[in-house]
């Protein structure tokens, strides 16, 4: 049981880690600057080193090295969690993820596996500039053997909140290597519950997927049948929800929002069934457009729905750097207005 119910995505993730360290003596956290009193660059690990000093290790600035070490720990029975301080730095762990950690299971013919969980904050809108603001998870989508997860800011049924529960399960179950993608602006988001969501109908369609992980379908209660399906995840799903609300109240356009928490492997049944109903699909992501999450979603939608998919679009970042200055950054990253405009063009 959580000590205090978490109120934000940040505290939910923190409690997810806390709980996993508490429940499983094989959990070990590794990361740069994660010790108290600092507690990590974004404070996700705050309090953990004080409570579990033996199992929360601060490391040198060696992303590849610590990810490799986590791989070795996992092969020998531990459940390591690595924090990569900024998502941008995941470029440094690619060899460990693609050629090592995710290989062992299949290449050693199922005799062993390395269930490492790598957590990292992606995303901009904090003015950190080109090398500290990127959304790079698309580089990891479609790596065989790698699960990519992204939390959504719902309270959900579990006392630690759905983001923390998603993380807790990934760590504790130790079933497969996982990249857990957080977003800097998601951290302060309040976990939606009670009055925040009483306007919405929220259904978890996860049972339609193999993983069974949450796959939310949201629309306004009592709204007419949706005109269009929006698909998004992580922090962009919050912006998509804002857009959905404004479109209904200001433009009388009704959308259904589909939010997976497992990005890869691609298990899209709930999303495809919504797109089949509406015939229109927009994917929304914060990474750059080409070969991104949306590209794969639309490819699969097209393969599965054929002519039932009447129109489809992707919303994503412009294919350039993420500038430091707020007004320049806003031109590059997709926002609520971009979503509203795209939806209005399509209906």
């Amino acid at each position: 049981m959580a000590e205090n119910s978490p109120t934000t995505v940040l505290s939910s993730l923190n409690q997810g880690l806390h709980q996993s360290l508490q429940d499983d003596p094989n959990v070990i956290l590794l990361g740069e600057d994660i010790l108290d009193p600092y507690g990590g660059s974004f404070k996700v690990t705050r309090g953990l080193s004080s409570k579990f000093p033996e199992r929360v290790l601060t490391t040198p600035i060696s992303e590849a090295g610590i990810t490799g070490i986590a791989g070795g720990l996992a092969l020998r029975g531990f459940h390591p969690v690595v924090e990569i301080m900024f998502g941008d730095f995941t470029t440094l762990i690619v060899d460990q993820v693609i050629n090592h950690i995710t290989k062992f299971d299949a290449m050693y013919h199922g005799q062993t596996s390395a269930p490492v969980v790598i957590r990292t904050p992606m995303g901009g809108r904090r003015g950190y500039g080109p090398t500290h603001s990127q959304t790079l998870e698309k580089l990891f989508l479609g790596v065989p053997g790698l699960r990519v997860l992204a939390p959504f800011h719902l309270q959900g049924d579990d006392p630690i909140g759905s983001p923390g529960k998603l993380l807790y399960d990934a760590v504790i179950q130790g079933s497969s290597p996982t990249l857990f993608v957080e977003n800097k602006l998601q951290y302060p988001l309040k976990l939606l519950s009670g009055d925040d969501i009483k306007e919405y109908s929220i259904t978890d369609r996860g049972a339609l997927t193999q993983s069974g992980l949450p796959f939310y379908e949201l629309h306004l209660k009592g709204a007419p049948a949706a005109d269009i399906t929006l698909a998004s995840y992580g922090y962009m799903a919050k912006l998509a929800l804002d857009a959905l609300h404004q479109l209904a109240y200001q433009h009388e356009i009704f959308c259904e929002l589909l939010v997976p928490t497992q990005l890869a492997p691609f298990e899209l049944a709930p999303l495809l069934s919504s797109a089949r109903r509406t015939g229109k699909l927009i994917t929304i992501e914060e990474g750059t457009l080409s070969l991104g999450w949306g590209a794969e979603v639309l490819a699969r939608a097209s393969e599965n729905l054929g002519a039932e998919l009447k129109s489809a679009r992707r919303i994503a970042a412009k294919e350039t750097v993420v500038p430091a200055a707020p007004q320049l950054e806003a031109e590059v990253l997709p926002g609520v207005e971009d979503i509203i405009q795209q939806v209005r063009e399509m209906v």
Binding site: I69, F104, M107, H109
Partner: protein
């Protein structure tokens, strides 16, 4: 069997396995690539004769010798190289990617050093006195992750023996074109003691390895062992750009089987040879007969 005969037999098992492998490669039974340890058998046997059951061995692309010295089954290895379901990894791994009991090999240079460090951390935490033996080549000193790993290995005093098999060449690149400075100092700079031996004689390598393994185990700390050695074969199947006379001279001076074999009587040597060659031939034939 006395100790000398036993060591000879273990090295000959590797030699016979790989000689037959190379001989049969051109017949198309095996596919892909293979890196043999011809000339380096004394390293594999000299080090791995001293491990205990729970110890972990991490190896690289040139892993057949390590695998066989670890106790791996020649039949299962042949079957693996033939791509059969009865292979060590069901034919998925092939020559470079083996896992059996606590033996792990992989074909990427450098990255496995970090993995080995993590394994040593795991064993240290379990407190069962198990250690990790990590084999690497001189060329792999070019990879950055090696130094990230050495730093953490020392920082956290991980129980690992890094065995650097310095055959002075990486594929076709001589060490002089790739390695600056002194190899021992690369370890010592991180506070990891490095013992260095220039030898292909198992009776020199084995006691040194035994002492170092004992120290790593008892003191739970890292150690490097640099073995200056010689690659007598090609890098993989047929790629050797060294002049023939250079390789020939290495065969004359650095063949661990000749060096150690001379300690045995003609009779003992030939009876072991007949026995091991028949054993390896039988493993090959039986592997060949396994279902695809």
């Amino acid at each position: 069997m006395n100790r000398n005969a036993e060591l000879f037999q273990k090295m000959l098992t590797i030699r016979s396995f790989e000689t037959l492998l190379l001989e049969k490669f051109s017949t198309g039974i095996f596919t892909g690539t293979t890196h043999t340890s011809l000339g380096q058998e004394a390293n594999a046997v000299g080090v791995l004769s001293h491990i205990q059951e729970n110890d972990v061995v991490v190896s690289n692309h040139r892993c057949h010798g390590h695998f066989l010295a670890y106790g791996g089954d020649p039949l299962a290895l042949y079957a693996e190289l033939m791509g059969k379901p009865d292979g060590v990894c069901g034919g998925v791994g092939g020559s470079q990617h083996l896992h059996w009991r606590n033996f792990y090999s992989s074909g990427l240079q450098g990255g496995t050093v970090a993995m080995a460090a993590g394994m040593a951390m795991a064993e240290k935490r379990k407190g069962d006195k198990a250690i990790v033996i990590d084999f690497m080549g001189d060329g792999t000193l070019g990879e950055g992750i090696v130094y990230e790993s050495l730093n953490m290995i020392s920082l956290w005093q991980l129980p690992i023996l890094i065995v650097l098999e310095n055959n002075h060449i990486a594929q076709t690149t001589p060490a002089e074109l790739a390695i600056a400075g002194d190899i021992s100092q690369r370890f010592e700079a991180f506070g990891i003691p490095a013992a260095r031996i220039d030898s292909s004689d198992i009776l020199e390598i084995s006691p040194l390895a035994e002492a170092l393994i004992g120290r790593v185990r008892n003191e739970s700390r890292p150690q490097a062992l640099i073995i200056d050695t010689a690659r007598l074969g090609t890098h993989s199947k047929g790629d050797d750009t060294r002049p023939g006379e250079v390789v020939e001279a290495l065969w004359q001076e650095r063949d661990p089987l000749t060096i150690h074999g001379s300690r045995l009587s003609e009779g003992v040597r030939s009876s072991i040879t007949i026995k091991i060659e028949a054993y390896i031939q039988a493993a090959f034939t039986r592997a060949l007969g396994k279902e695809d």
